[in-house]
Symmetry: C3
């Protein structure tokens, strides 16, 4: 964090278009969570579960919703509709980390057939294979390896220990976190009559479009033929698996430990939550939300929320889950019915007798 | 892909033992998926869901099944029983990537007590610890680390940023993708009376037999004692976890994000699909197929297909899933029965009265 | 393993406080599993499923429970209450691996503003960024990268290809296995009205307390603000995901491929088994055990065992699972009831007629 920053609260209020209540001359030097804030810190409140910290916070100022009861006079308030967003915008504007890396380290290797743009920074032991094209203002941290024919668009940021295999294309302003592997062979084999698996060469590549972010230790396999594609603006978390020939749409989210099997197409603006799995050759449409741990074995083209393994539409899944918890009661009701039928039949027998 | 290749279609047809329909002099220079193919490309059709692309493909030739309706005259056909296999064999024969790496880079470190076979290639910053034995024609890419006493059999290919810890043995023709860790300590502790965990030293190793392939960012832990074993010809996908003292049979498949707990034995020719988990100390037999996301908490020795968490035989699992979806209907039927019983009882009371 | 060790069995018996039955002069040179043991090996028996190996083991000595039937006279016994613990203590005392790494390799880079304690060992191509503090007796293996302001406490062991990002603090006697990433950005975005995601800067850090062990290829994200915390003595397996602002208690276990979403607090002495997932902003108390593949979508504050997705208390989950398997029978009973009602009604109609 930038440790020497001093910003007047009135300036902050103006930037976010908020209403300042309290001392507009307060100087903000840092941001913090409400339960950890100290003098000079700006904080925010948007989840009611954090309100319990309001009485004791040491923050100097706080973003709150207009309706929030301002019971303390030793703290300044900025009223905004969405405190979280206001806070994030100040974080972005004044406290963005710099990811400092300057120049080309002398231990970095650049194949002479490759070209670097202006102002590229390469860390220690970086390897740039043959015929790569690295755009302006790209930063590649230590021990990262790019094999031949890789392209990286301008202003992209690639952290340490990343592997990008031959022929893969990385767009502009892409961020790739440590340990991620792009372009490993897809998992493709032919089984012979003896049950022995023979590798099918994987000769496609991976295309990562502009503004994508990929978390740590994720894996995106190259296509068998053609390209595996991560659409513009999509965000991928840690330990995510994307198989060969997958195509992910625009502005789609994949949370940690989710996985997509081969040749799946996912649309735009969809959300694949943590530990979700999608079987091969399926189609997932736009605006589909898959809740955590769901398992998808059939295509889902209708926008909506889905849950379960196998996945069902969320409303149905919730009803079924409630029924599931009630089964013991249903069984009791069946037992009671059986007894009553038995009684009715016995009575009838007696009446006959 | 090899960009200068020119093969006559008649030659291709002969290799796969197919029947050529159309112009046998067509020259093939590349392979492509049907929806991406261009002039000079050979493609194939085996899934009916891709038939919609047939009318518009620009491919020059196509592998099809004999019964396929050859409605276009501007394209040449090779009829084969299994178009996918024929295509893969041509891919393998003419378009296999070379994974070019030649010689021993001057930044690679080889401990003087280690021995290298003929024609070994070591990339930049590779570390080969003490007493390692590296076979002929092995390629080890950049930044990969082998600690002491590691053996790698001939013609194995180890990509970048791989870690192989001390004493592990890698067979012949093994492929290990980037970021994979072989031989990390197993997860073993003794808990004392205060609830503090004490590490149990893990002094075994990992043995990877011949012709195994291991995907990116997977982890195979060393045995506590003895060996964790990956059997000959088995194929392991990305982000797979294999715990200490696991033994995997021959020609067994583990798909992405699946995991096996400690001391599990898995047989031959089995398939463990994506995100499957297997609890510790179990036995999984030969020819067992575990469908994606299954959780196995009891040994499975009978060949067959299994699904669910906890896993059940697939037929049962499908019946239960259908019932599960029907529970709301069953509850309605119970309600109706309750009403009818109530009516019957009321009528009887009235009759008595 | 130390190959030149020779220990008298009587000495071993004394150390573990056991009762020696047989030849006290037997010399032990190694430890092994019962089915793999050879002459000179000490082994142990605690699971009844391994007793089948007793008749044929070549071990020279064995830890057994006092009640074990000592049917062989060519083997020496040490009776102890807990054979597994006795074995582990001998393993720990005599056979602990040394993880040999000595001195600072000339290819390691240490920023001049960083400080190293006594007896630090740095492997090849290690990168230590600006303003780091490395404690006494720390070992950092090859190709590991620490960015600026990282602290590592004394006697910690960091294996190869590990990434620790800026500002993270690692305690004393911490072990980090290969490929693990500590301090990558948390997965935090603000979505604008066009559906475009904007990155929220992640300016916190990760604090790993003393005596923690972290497996291979795991990921622990830095906090958005403040710290993600791994409590003292906690043990984390391979391929585990810990999101931003998570706080893990003391002596808590996370098994392989489990994952915790953002801002979750987990208590002390809890166990999170393999492939478990926990949704964001929840609280998991002390002494909570989550069985493998469970999915937690609500806070769990009561100690106990939980299972399922969504997770239920284990006793309930077991009852529900049994009912689930019985649904076909329940449906049969409903059908039978329907028939009987139908018969009763028909009979009544006939009686009326």
């Amino acid at each position: 964090m930038n440790n020497n920053l001093k910003i007047k609260l009135s300036e902050i209020s103006e930037i976010v278009g908020g209403k300042l209540v309290g001392d507009s001359n307060v100087i903000i030097s840092s941001l913090a969570k409400i339960d950890e804030a100290d003098e000079g810190d700006l904080t925010f409140l948007y989840l009611s579960s954090y309100e319990k910290f309001f009485d004791s916070t040491h923050a100097s100022a706080i973003f709150v919703k207009p309706e929030f009861k301002k019971t303390r006079s030793d703290i300044s308030y900025i009223e905004v509709k969405e405190p979280e967003k206001a806070f994030a915008s100040i974080l972005l504007k004044f406290f963005s980390p710099k990811f400092e890396l300057v120049g080309i380290d002398k231990t970095a290797f650049i194949d002479p057939t490759s070209s670097l743009g202006k102002n590229v920074a390469l860390g220690k032991n970086v390897v740039i294979g043959a015929n790569c094209k690295i755009g302006d203002n790209v930063k590649i941290f230590h021990n990262t390896v790019l094999l031949e024919n890789v392209e990286v668009g301008e202003a992209s940021l690639i952290f340490q220990n990343v592997s990008i295999r031959e022929d893969c294309k990385i767009g502009k302003r892409v961020i790739i976190h440590p340990g991620t592997v792009i372009g490993a062979d897809g998992f493709g084999y032919q089984k012979d009559e003896k049950g022995v698996y023979h590798k099918v060469p994987q000769i496609g590549n991976v295309i990562v479009e502009d503004d994508v972010e990929i978390g740590a230790n994720s894996t995106i396999d190259r296509a068998a033929l053609g390209s595996s594609i991560i659409g513009k603006g999509s965000k991928i978390d840690n330990l995510v698996q994307i198989a060969h020939n997958v195509s992910l749409g625009i502005n789609t989210i994949m949370s940690a430990q989710s996985g997509i099997s081969g040749s799946v197409k996912v649309g735009n603006n969809s959300i694949i939550a943590g530990q979700v799995g999608i079987s091969g050759h399926l189609e997932i449409g736009d605006n589909v939300i898959l809740i955590a741990q769901s398992g998808v074995s059939k295509s889902i083209t209708k926008p909506g929320i889905y849950f379960g393994s196998p996945a069902k539409d969320f409303k149905t899944a919730k009803i079924l889950e409630a029924h599931f918890r009630n089964i013991p009661e249903y069984v009791e009701r069946i037992k009671k019915l059986e007894e009553e039928i038995k009684n009715l039949k016995e009575e009838k027998e007696q009446n006959k007798g």
